[in-house]
């Protein structure tokens, strides 16, 4: 498709930077977008969530104070909107993660994805897995012949766990690099290279850019 060579040149991108890529809202939004678009669960942004919650609490207090002190309705309603927006992002982010846990709980609990969960998410995952196991046990597994009763394996003759739903890492994702990444290898054999230029939009296989997502060089959109 279109692939011009001139750099992204409008003032729009710069203005984006102006509002401060550094605000926690901006960071939260990025985490939210990446979490939404990535097929597997990403590292929990513990410090960021903590900060966002603190700021929400602080502002909630301020708004209450304003109302009490008769600060004008206009400012109060604007602050309320700011609060609503941040709350939505935070809740939606946490919800997305729970939904990924719900979907891939068994896979997550037996791989190192486990370490990406917060403590509360781990508790949730444990509980969910128990509940799911119990449900499948009593509806299906216990009613099957010996040798076919595992939740992980099709039968005792399966060598590996072949019954566990896993995220599809070879799916394609839309992404934008934050800075120039340069020539990047897309497959294991090194046959496919792509030059990742800042702010350009690409559709790539998640598996091949997973590392760039994890270290923050690329954003999913």
């Amino acid at each position: 498709m279109a692939s011009g060579s001139e750099p992204w040149s409008s003032g729009v991108a710069e203005e984006d930077a102006l509002i401060g890529e550094t605000t926690d809202v901006e960071l939260l939004k990025r985490a939210w977008r990446n979490e939404k678009a990535a097929p597997e669960i990403l590292q929990f942004q513990a410090a960021l969530v903590l900060r966002a919650r603190e700021q929400i609490q602080l502002l909630e207090g301020t708004v209450e104070e304003f109302v009490g002190n008769g600060v004008d309705d206009l400012a109060v309603s604007l602050y309320q909107m700011d609060l609503d927006r941040t709350q939505f992002l935070l809740r939606s982010y946490l919800r997305l993660r729970l939904q990924k846990i719900e979907k891939y709980m068994i896979h997550i609990s037996k791989t190192n994805l486990w370490n990406r969960l917060s403590e509360q998410e781990q508790n949730f995952a444990k509980r969910c897995t128990d509940i799911m196991e119990k449900h499948l046990e009593q509806s299906v597994l216990s009613r099957l012949p010996f040798g076919y009763q595992s939740i992980l394996k099709q039968s005792i003759s399966s060598e590996e766990d072949d019954m566990v739903p896993e995220p599809q890492l070879d799916t394609f994702v839309f992404c934008k690099t934050r800075g120039d990444v340069g020539a990047f290898q897309l497959d294991d054999t090194g046959d496919e290279m792509v030059d990742l230029v800042a702010d350009d939009l690409y559709v790539l296989r998640y598996k091949s850019i997973k590392g760039l997502v994890e270290n923050g060089q690329i954003d999913l959109v």
């Binding site: 509002i19 605000t23 003759s157 566990v164 394609f172 939009l201 690409y202």
Partner: protein, 211 residues
């Protein structure tokens, strides 16, 4: 899973794309005096009558709806710039012009809430519609060029709404090519509920033993 569409194909809902667009910065001209706003999403103001200030679009719209400001239409939304953009879109069948990532949503929000601030509103409206159409057409023809050899697609300057619309098509197409292109993948055990077609290949591996 089985028979259901992949939930990853539609990632952002239209309200969510709009939500993201509402954080784009825009210039307003307040008609009131208001102290600085120290918000979670940043500090804005102080505001003085007739002195332009930069705020996120959601804030601009909120003030506008309360009659507290006029919104300065961004440069790219002028008839002149849009006419240029439209011409350029038409002239280069394989390239997308540089427009803000959220140009569709920004312009719609402004039409809905600040149409009186847009000079030549109807002209602007129709230019943006034309640009959208030309670009969508380009996206469609671009999709036809995806082939089995495609490991990466570059979509320079494609906007958020356009991404959202083409996402399911592009992902499904690339995935289909990718699957048919890599024979080793078919044999790879991948255990999910929706991959039951592979079951047939999996004979008893080790010890098919009586109990």
């Amino acid at each position: 899973m089985a028979g259901q569409s992949d939930p990853h194909l539609s990632i952002f809902s239209a309200p969510e794309v709009e939500f993201l667009a509402e954080d784009e910065v825009i210039e307003i001209v307040p008609n009131i005096r208001m102290e600085s706003l120290h918000m979670i999403c940043g500090d804005f103001g102080p505001f003085f009558p007739q002195i332009a200030a930069k705020v996120p679009l959601w804030l601009a719209v909120a003030l506008k709806r309360r009659g507290k400001c006029a919104i300065r239409v961004p440069e790219w939304m002028s008839v002149e710039r849009l006419t240029q953009a439209l011409e350029a879109e038409r002239e280069s069948p394989r390239e997308f012009q540089t427009l803000p990532f959220h140009y569709v949503e920004i312009s719609r929000l402004l039409f809905d809430h600040a149409h009186d601030d847009i000079p030549d509103e109807y002209m602007v409206r129709s230019l943006i519609e034309d640009i959208r159409d030309v670009r969508f057409h380009k996206v469609e023809t671009g999709l036809e060029s995806i082939s089995g050899r495609t490991h990466a697609v570059k979509l320079k300057n494609l906007s958020a709404m356009e991404v959202n619309i083409v996402r399911p098509f592009i992902i499904r197409t690339l995935q289909a090519f990718y699957k048919h292109d890599s024979p080793q993948m078919i044999q790879q055990p991948e255990a999910t509920g929706n991959r039951r077609s592979q079951v047939a290949d999996r004979g008893p591996r080790r010890d098919l033993r009586p109990r």
